[in-house]
Symmetry: C2
Subunit: 212 residues, 2 copies
Amino acid sequence: MNTKQRILNAALTLLNEEGETAISAVDIANALEISPGNLYYHFKGKEEIIPALYDDFEEEMQIILQSGHKDMRSIEDQWIFAYIVLEEIWDFRFFYRNLDSILDRYPVLAPKFKRLLNAKRKAIRTNLNNLIRLDYLHIDQVLLNTLVEQNLLCFTYWLNLQEIEKRDIPAQTAIHQSVFQIMTLSVPYMGEAGFNALQGMQALLEKNLAPK
Amino acid sequence: MNTKQRILNAALTLLNEEGETAISAVDIANALEISPGNLYYHFKGKEEIIPALYDDFEEEMQIILQSGHKDMRSIEDQWIFAYIVLEEIWDFRFFYRNLDSILDRYPVLAPKFKRLLNAKRKAIRTNLNNLIRLDYLHIDQVLLNTLVEQNLLCFTYWLNLQEIEKRDIPAQTAIHQSVFQIMTLSVPYMGEAGFNALQGMQALLEKNLAPK
């Protein structure tokens, strides 16, 4: 691994652990036991490190979102897809924890993050339209729009809300509970099949949270 | 108005406009044209101003939440209540925009904010239980729990998501759209009455967003 990548990896760990406002470029250099000058040779301070990390995040997220356009018929498929999206957000959680403030202070990121929100929105809509086409969901057009937005809100902020209330919640627990929360949004639009679907979701949640 | 209150008012305006990380105690003193020493006589820096503002916010919010326990039967009553809660959040929006980071850096606020989240959760549940008792909502117990959490998520983060996407959205527009989003969460549990309720909500949204 080259120095540039080592800097990004160390930065991501520190930012996730300590928060974006608490970490300076010097802290990152210290963690790697390199001189601030050596770090500066690769990145002109935190102002270049944060956007570089964001680009890594967006690239991975776009790949995940595009891979999800396949038919996802079963509850298990939907669960796994939502899990992968939220796991990626968890890996870059420093960014979501300080979202508005970071977008203010790094203006280059604001249009990129809007683009990513739209990509998420599109993937959610494609998935829900697919379930409608397969006759799993029956939903009015206005409520479909609000359901898409509610899914987007959950994917963006649910992990934050859980962390505020339970600071040391393990990542897997937080993510599986978020997935359950997202999945249940569709249940009332499933008609009579909703009851079984909900039981399937509860069984998956219990299975995934059981001690291994 | 005494100097202490003038400091808090100026601080709130600046923090909402510029963001919490951008504003120092000296900026607040400058805006008021008082010396930093005079400000320091009342508050030992931003570390005391932010918790004082939070206490004002929580006090007002608790009063609002407790006033909402009355019967709210009509869509109009529900709309007004949600509007008042979100307007209060808007008035202290600097706090919500930087929520995780502020709770990290002002540890005295973390238990207070959790207490407020629980008060919001309780008010949401009381309201939904009331609608169930009045036979307006028909909902399974598991889905009621997730519906409460979805409402809480909307009340906490929906304004943020709107602002990220439309930076200069007027407050009233953002708040009414948030209210609509929250209200539609209950529609699929209203049975046949849901169709009329949704039309009522759309009419209220249009009326409230129409140019005066």
